[in-house]
């Protein structure tokens, strides 16, 4: 089985899946009710979207210098993006921004 024959469809699947997550993250950032849920949606773009898109590009690049560089970018993004999301949420929490909670269910308590 030719590996290069497999590479293109694999990378396309990864790229489309990553793009879908970025799109979902964008929609979530617009549609979610409060800051924390919006951030949760947006951080999807940073982590899963980035991993999948960069993995797709790495498959295209193959074992080469470009592939190693892309891998380094992926590791960098994986370290920084969740940290930035954490710092943002933490800053909002310290600033006293309360999350919008759903009204408790009458039959729950």
């Amino acid at each position: 089985m030719n590996l290069e024959l497999l590479a293109t469809p694999t990378s396309w699947v990864l790229l489309i899946a990553g793009s879908a997550f970025v799109l979902i993250g964008g929609i979530g950032a617009l549609r979610m009710p409060d800051f924390y849920t919006r951030m949760h949606a947006a951080s999807l773009t940073d982590t899963l979207g980035t991993i999948l898109i960069l993995a797709g590009v790495i498959v295209q690049a193959g074992v080469s210098l470009a592939g190693v560089k892309l891998l380094a970018i992926m590791v960098f993004m994986l370290l920084t993006s969740p940290t930035a999301a954490y710092a943002l949420a933490n800053a909002a929490r310290l600033d006293g921004l309360a999350p919008t909670l759903s009204k408790p269910d009458p039959g729950d308590s």
């Binding site: 960098f76 370290l79 920084t80 940290t83 954490y86 710092a87 933490n90």
Partner: protein
């Protein structure tokens, strides 16, 4: 495809610019300015100006944002409403925009080989760089060697800006900020996650800065970009560990030495050319082999640029941060 991407980026740029103008909250405006710079860097990159893109990303999106936030900490977070002269401003802005749009009609098409910029000295640079300088990155060859005078001027503009900021913002450079311990001076000590990740990243950012510095002859990069990158890494360290810890790593005396040392190194390379019987900033006479002399000259000159840029940017950052603690 690349045209479509460029148009998309320009549309985003326009939207961001309008958002910056309309934004009343200055903190949000600073963040939008940072996004604007990143988009600008992407546009520079698809126009094949990798060196400029690197500078824009490091300075515009990285260091300038921190400096603007430092300035913002000294003032209020909210823009004051300006009511006067709105009609006049609209007329002036509309007239200027029409003038600029009118001027762009006469501009040559992007990448047009018959454009005046590509007819004048550019062919000579492209033909002579491999022979006279012998490095692959023609941008570095033009910047550091052929047009070394211009870069010397730029370096002294940065030098002057740094000295000016020092005069304006620093009341007493000798007073150590550790005398005034405040919550801000502690940095992010009590936030574990950003601290751990930040500490992990600082050495890699500085290492990448050094790579950009010394690889500028072969790929995109050089002193300006490297200075901004190293400064960004050190500012990250200052934000994590606090102002005083960063001053322990790079004390003020070292910063002053960096600022003046870099500019003096550039001048010294120029004078060395004079002493060895060539023209000012002629590197070919530095060594017996002209091409090796060019290599050495460019390396030293770029090092001088990198030192001064790092020193000036860090000094401006510390000047803002020290004032923040005083108030």
């Amino acid at each position: 495809m690349i045209t479509l991407f460029g148009v998309f980026l320009l549309c985003l740029l326009l939207i961001t610019a309008i958002a910056i103008v309309r934004e009343q909250n200055l903190f949000a405006a600073v963040m939008l300015t940072s996004i604007f710079s990143l988009q600008m860097a992407a546009i520079f990159f698809i126009l094949d100006a990798a060196d400029v893109a690197l500078t824009e990303a490091a300075v515009g999106a990285g260091v300038a944002t921190v400096l603007l936030l430092g300035a913002l900490a000294l003032t209020t977070n909210h823009e004051q409403e300006v009511k006067r002269h709105k009609a006049m401003a609209v007329v002036v802005a509309a007239f200027t925009s029409l003038l600029i749009i009118f001027a762009t009609v006469d501009m040559p098409r992007l990448g047009d080989p018959m454009a005046p910029a590509h007819q004048h000295v550019a062919p000579w640079y492209l033909a002579e760089t491999p022979k006279q300088v012998g490095i692959p990155n023609v941008v570095t060859a033009i910047l550091a060697s052929f047009r070394g005078y211009d870069t010397l001027g730029e370096l002294f503009v940065i030098f002057t800006a740094g000295v000016g900021v020092l005069f304006l913002l620093t009341n007493s450079p000798s007073s150590s900020p550790s005398r005034l311990p405040s919550a801000d001076a502690q940095g992010l000590r009590h936030h574990l996650v950003p601290r751990v990740v930040g500490r992990l990243l600082v050495p890699f950012i500085v290492l990448f800065g050094l790579y950009v510095q010394f690889h500028g002859d072969f790929g995109p990069g050089g002193g300006f970009q490297a200075g901004a990158l190293i400064c960004a890494g050190l500012i990250l360290y200052a934000l994590i560990e606090g102002e005083s810890a960063a001053l322990l790593v790079v004390p003020r005396s070292l910063l002053l030495a960096l600022i003046s040392g870099g500019a003096l190194l550039y001048l010294a390379v120029g004078l060395a050319g004079l002493l060895r019987g060539g023209n000012f900033l002629d590197y070919s006479v530095l060594l017996s082999d002209p091409v090796a002399g060019q290599h050495l000259g460019i390396l030293l000159v770029e090092l001088g640029v990198g030192l001064t840029v790092t020193g000036v940017l860090l000094t401006i950052f510390h000047a803002f941060a020290a004032r923040e603690q005083r108030s």
